[in-house]
Symmetry: C2
Subunit: 148 residues, 2 copies
C-alpha cells in the first residue's frame, strides 16, 4: 500500500492552520484557536521534539488531508523504556478509500519503534477497533476517563 501520487507525510507547519483545524474537527470539538495560538502550540511541540511528533498527510497541492500524533513518554518500567501514545487521528471525509489512516498509523508506529518504545497504545471507541486491528493493534484493556 502506498500514498497516492504527490501525497506526502510530513510534520505539521504554521501554514497548515486552516486545514489542520478543519480536518481535526471531524474527530471532536476543536474550539477557538487563533493563528497565533496555533503557532505558539507548534513552537511548544517543537521545543519538546523528543516527546511530540505531530504529523500530517498532505495532498499534491500540499493541503492537509489527515492528522495524527505520537506522544513518546519516558518511563521507568521495562528498563527505563518508553511508551508511544497515538493521538488525534483524523482523515478528511472526502479522502476515504485511500488507506490514508492506515498509512499514517504505520508511519507513527515506525517513529515510536525508532524512538525505542516497548509498546504503542491508543484509545478508541469499540466501533473503531476493527480498523486498528488492521494496523496491527490488539485490544488490551479499558480506557477510563474523568471529564471537567
Amino acid at each position: 500500500m502506498s500514498l497516492p501520487s504527490g501525497y506526502s507525510i510530513r510534520p505539521v507547519k504554521a501554514s497548515d492552520y486552516k486545514r489542520y483545524l478543519e480536518v481535526l474537527s471531524v474527530l471532536t470539538s476543536v474550539g477557538d484557536v487563533s493563528p497565533s495560538q496555533f503557532e505558539k502550540l507548534l513552537d511548544h511541540w517543537a521545543a519538546n521534539s523528543l516527546i511530540y511528533f505531530p504529523r500530517v498527510i498532505a495532498d499534491a497541492e500540499d493541503n492537509v488531508v489527515a492528522t495524527g500524533m505520537i506522544v513518546v513518554e519516558q518511563k521507568l518500567i521495562h528498563g527505563c523504556s518508553k511508551v508511544g501514545h497515538i493521538e488525534d487521528i483524523a482523515v478528511d471525509k472526502s479522502q476515504q478509500g485511500k488507506s490514508l489512516g492506515f498509512l499514517l498509523i504505520s508511519h507513527l508506529n515506525s517513529i515510536g519503534e525508532k524512538e525505542g518504545c516497548y509498546k504503542i497504545i491508543l484509545d478508541c471507541s469499540p466501533k473503531n477497533t476493527g480498523f486498528y486491528e488492521k494496523c496491527g493493534y490488539k485490544d488490551s484493556g479499558v480506557q477510563m476517563a474523568i471529564r471537567y
Copy 2:
C-alpha cells in the same frame, strides 16, 4: 478519607531508588535500572516538569509505599487544551486497606485539573475498573496496543 498519620504525598527523589523500583515491580517488569540511570530519569522528568508529575506516597519513615504519575499532554483540540494521563499506579502489598490508591489518584487528579486538563484518562484491565470508578472515572472506550 485521609493519609495515615506521618504519611505524605510528594515528588519522587533520588534516595527513593530502591523502594520506588520495589513498589513498581508489583505492577509490571521493572527491568535493570541502575541508581545513576534512575537519577538521570528523574533529571529528565524534572527538565520537563510541566509534562511529567511523578509522585509517591511515603510512610512515616519516608519510605515509598505507593507510586503514580500524571503526564500532561498539550493538545490542539478543545481550544488548545490538555489531557492528563494517569500512569504507573502501584501500591505496596503490605499497605492494602488504607485507601492509598484512592488518595494518590485524587492527588494526581487535582494536579491535572489545576494544569487545565479538560479530561484525565488511564488504561486498566477490566478487573480494575471498579476501583477507578470509585475514584470518579467512567468506562470510555477500548485501549489498543502493539508491543515490540
